[in-house]
């Protein structure tokens, strides 16, 4: 059996190869990890799961020497270790591969495999031996290609395999895999699984990060669930039903904590404020359609990688859609770009407000009026008086807490930053608001306030699409919830079914056959 414990090891569970305890890590005052622990045993695959921002990548970066923890300790083979660089971690036997293949595409396959540890003869690289060894090693990983050709000529699966072969090397005790399958074809996933099983059979401990439930259950023996930077569960995966796992990831109490105020019944005759049909983005979104009426909040749920954010981006044209149509108030949006969407009255509050929205070094005023500048100017000259008027109105309406409109946005709290972004779009008087994770990274009090604000805006007649990974937020804040899985709508919750249990059932829904079965490392 691939999952057999290390041969010759003591009876029972083998001693852990790596133990992390009490890991704390913060960035600029935000806690990414708080007291997280992880125990890896040889020959076992340990799943690390959690939603975006749960702290998975930070934990991986601490394990692999990219980040140094603020507190906590790492024990490798029983002795405490500290890694200052990725190289130190690699030398200690902790290898990693990432979602993106971190190799050099223009260099040859053999060179990529050997970079930094090339065999040498009389001081010069021994190219012949390099190529011969590379071909041998890669054959064991199921890659049969001309190793003297540039890496980029290989398919992504084979490239990922080269990365894995490089990382695992000869003496890796721990291999960390961060969403290794996200860009692979199904048959490439099978090969990867076979390689992972082969690694564990040799006694390597594997950390496997993925948001694909099917893969986790097919491959992993143990699981650690992270949420908001804390470890919320750890134990054997087989003992944890799929639905409970989803519940742990999405978390909180999962009771409908907040009743949405009396719901607006949409005017059946009027065209919907926003109608999307057959939205398709290659590999991400497959034929998603929905209506959002005035005064209505449509929730868009799904696990990480389900295509929820991509759907919102495709609607406004921030992501190129391969197919599909979008109508605003019954009129089709023919040109698809964020600018055209804004002109039609559809605005998107992006998920990552720091990277995709705010200008942190500029003032509250400048951030608010940015998108409205064309409307506030005459012959290209911006009227300061009209700016001040708009800013004053929205600061009051959204209850933005800033010392003055001239305060830098970077100095505001997360909740107030989000309100500044919201104000930027609201002063354009939109018809439809697309909100992608509007309360992420905002503390609890401000979260309730932003949620109340969303209700008010809907009550004022805006159509709202609420994209959220937070089950509670979706249930409490939406009139209806559309659930996506792998880019495809799998369920729509309406009326009584807008309920946490129904949402969890829909999220855990199995639509794909489990990947990798039937290749249990045993085909020889």
């Amino acid at each position: 059996m691939a999952q057999a414990e290390r041969p010759g090891g003591p009876a029972g569970r083998p001693a852990p190869v790596l133990v992390a305890t009490g890991i704390d890590k913060g960035f600029a005052g935000v806690h990414a990890l708080r007291g997280v622990g992880l125990t890896l045993r040889p020959g076992r695959v340990h799943a690390l799961v959690g939603e975006n921002g749960a702290g998975k990548s930070t934990l991986i970066k601490v394990l692999t020497g990219v980040h140094r923890p603020d507190a906590g300790k790492l024990e490798l083979g029983g002795s405490e270790r500290e890694f200052r660089t990725p190289l130190e971690a690699q030398r200690a036997g902790i290898a990693s591969i990432h979602q993106e293949v971190n190799l050099v595409p223009m260099m040859s396959v053999a060179r990529n495999l050997h970079l930094g540890r090339e065999p040498r003869r009389r001081g010069l690289l021994d190219l012949r031996r390099m190529n011969r060894e590379a071909a041998e090693v890669l054959r064991r990983y199921g890659v049969d290609a001309d190793v003297t050709r540039p890496l980029r000529e290989l398919g992504l699966g084979a490239q990922q395999m080269v990365a894995l072969a490089r990382a695992a090397g000869v003496d890796a005790e721990v291999v960390v895999m961060d969403e290794p399958t996200s860009s692979l074809e199904p048959h490439e996933v099978d090969t990867l699984f076979a390689v992972v099983r082969d690694l564990t059979a040799r006694g390597t401990a594997v950390v496997y990060v993925s948001h694909r439930m099917d893969e986790l259950y097919a491959l992993c023996q143990d699981v650690t669930v992270l949420r908001d930077g804390r470890g919320v569960h750890t134990g054997p995966l087989a003992d944890l039903p799929r639905r409970e796992l989803v519940g742990l990831m999405l978390g909180r109490t999962l009771v409908a904590a907040r009743e949405r105020p009396a719901r607006h019944t949409p005017d059946a005759d009027a065209p919907p404020a926003l109608r999307a049909r057959g939205l398709t983005v290659r590999h991400r979104v497959h034929g998603v359609g929905f209506d959002v009426h005035r005064g209505e909040v449509l929730g868009l749920g799904g696990l990480l990688g389900s295509g929820r954010s991509e759907t919102a981006k495709a609607v406004v044209g921030a992501l190129g859609a391969d197919a599909g149509r979008v109508e605003v108030d019954g009129r089709e949006l023919t040109r698809r770009s964020p600018a055209a969407a804004i002109r039609a009255g559809v605005v998107l509050l992006p998920e990552d407000r720091k990277a995709e929205g705010l200008l942190p070094g500029r003032s509250v005023r400048e951030n608010i009026v940015l998108a409205a500048l064309p409307r506030l100017s005459r012959a290209g000259i911006v009227s300061r008086a009209r700016q001040d008027e708009v800013v004053e109105r929205f600061v009051a309406r959204l209850r933005i807490k800033a010392a003055s409109p001239e305060q830098k946005v970077a100095d505001l709290s997360g909740g107030n930053q989000q309100k500044v972004l919201l104000a930027r779009w609201l002063c354009l008087a939109p018809k439809v608001l697309l909100l992608d994770e509007p309360t992420r990274g905002i503390d609890v009090g401000a979260r309730a306030e932003v949620q109340a604000l969303i209700d008010e805006l809907a009550a004022d007649g805006l159509g709202v699409l609420l994209v959220s990974s937070d089950a509670e937020e979706l249930i409490a804040g939406s009139d209806r919830v559309l659930v996506l899985k792998d880019g495809t709508p799998v369920d729509e919750l309406t009326g009584e079914r807008v309920h946490a249990d129904a949402l969890l059932a829909a999220l855990a829904h199995e639509t794909r056959p489990p990947a990798g079965d039937g290749t249990n490392g045993a085909q020889r």
Binding site: L115, G116, R120, D146, R149, G157, D190
Partner: protein, 330 residues
């Protein structure tokens, strides 16, 4: 274990046209050079004469070394604008040292100053993370300033004493060619057969990946600037040996010709792909073009040389952009 075999080889999907395009990128300069030499030998009387070939090679051989050092810098994704100034500085320092202390000093002083100067460039780029363009532009200006100082603002011309052994290095046609060829050979070996060379290419190909793979990124980036400046100063010293004096006004604009040679030789200006052999073809091609224009003695004369060089460069960069786009669409 033998899991599903991933041949996953894209070459099958690559059309013959694409393969040809990739080959042209790698060997384009050589192909054009060969064609040009054949045509010139056939139609331009006297082109293939020993005298003329000697003139093409002997007069330029040292200047080509600027492109050799620059090849390494460009491969990391950087740029070194200071090589023209370093060339002039090397020449003047060599003549000054030969005048006072003899042959060994004439050789070693420029090397030491070049290495130190390049080290400053390298540290500023690799450790302080400043832009190579600006750092080496400062180097270009700084080296010119130092020249003015050594020559009393150009009033003093230092002469390499006649009969000095140092002069022998630059005499005749074939000594410079052999010295230069030997250095190019060493450079090719350094690039393809050492870890330093592999790291150089890897940095230009994907610096983030190179860091994650644990390669010595900062050290290698520093060293390519040391190499470039040292070679430029050495080239200047050898040039002074040939001329018999250190001339302050030489080298102006040489950095641009050197960059053009490197790029025409198929090295990507963004780094990560290129070869010393390509650079050799690049420098030879530009020199032959120059020679042909001079020889044709048309009414335009050598005035059009730079225009032709510019056209070559534009054509190459355009071809690279098109090839690159084709690749991305795959």
């Amino acid at each position: 274990m033998s899991p599903t075999v991933l041949t996953a080889d894209r070459r099958s999907a690559e059309s013959p046209a694409e393969r040809l395009a990739a080959r042209i990128q790698r060997h384009g300069a050589l192909t054009v050079l060969a064609l040009l030499v054949l045509l010139a030998s056939a139609f331009s009387p006297g082109f293939a004469s020993t005298d003329n070939l000697g003139a093409i090679l002997g007069n330029n051989a040292f200047v080509w070394l600027l492109a050799l050092g620059l090849t390494f810098v460009v491969l990391t994704g950087g740029i070194d604008l200071s090589v023209g100034s370093m060339y002039a500085l090397g020449g003047v320092l060599a003549a000054w040292a030969a005048e006072r202390y003899g042959t060994w000093a004439a050789l070693l002083l420029p090397l030491a100053v070049g290495a130190a100067w390049g080290c400053v460039h390298g540290l500023l780029v690799a450790r302080a993370r400043t832009a190579p363009f600006i750092v080496t532009l400062a180097g270009l200006l700084g080296a010119r300033g130092l020249l003015q100082l050594v020559t009393d603002e150009g009033a003093t011309t230092h002469l390499v004493p006649p009969g000095s052994a140092f002069r022998a290095l630059g005499e005749g046609t074939w000594t410079p060619v052999l010295v230069s060829a030997a250095l190019f050979g060493l450079g090719a070996l350094l690039l393809t057969r050492t870890r330093f060379g592999a790291t150089t290419t890897a940095i230009g190909g994907n610096e983030h990946a190179a860091t994650l793979m644990g390669l010595p990124v900062a050290r290698t980036k520093t060293l390519v600037y040391v190499l470039s400046a040292t070679l430029a100063c050495a080239a200047g010293a050898l040039g002074a040996a040939r001329l018999g004096s250190g001339v302050t006004t030489v080298g102006v604009g040489y950095e641009l010709t050197a960059i053009a040679s490197v790029v025409i030789g198929g090295t990507l200006l963004t780094g990560g792909s290129g070869s010393v052999g390509g650079t050799v073809a690049g420098v030879l091609l530009l020199s032959v073009v120059h020679n042909l224009i001079d020889r044709s003695a048309s009414q335009y004369g050598s005035a059009v040389t730079d225009t032709v060089n510019g056209a070559f460069l534009a054509a190459v960069v355009l071809a690279q952009a098109l090839l690159d786009r084709g690749r991305r669409d795959e």
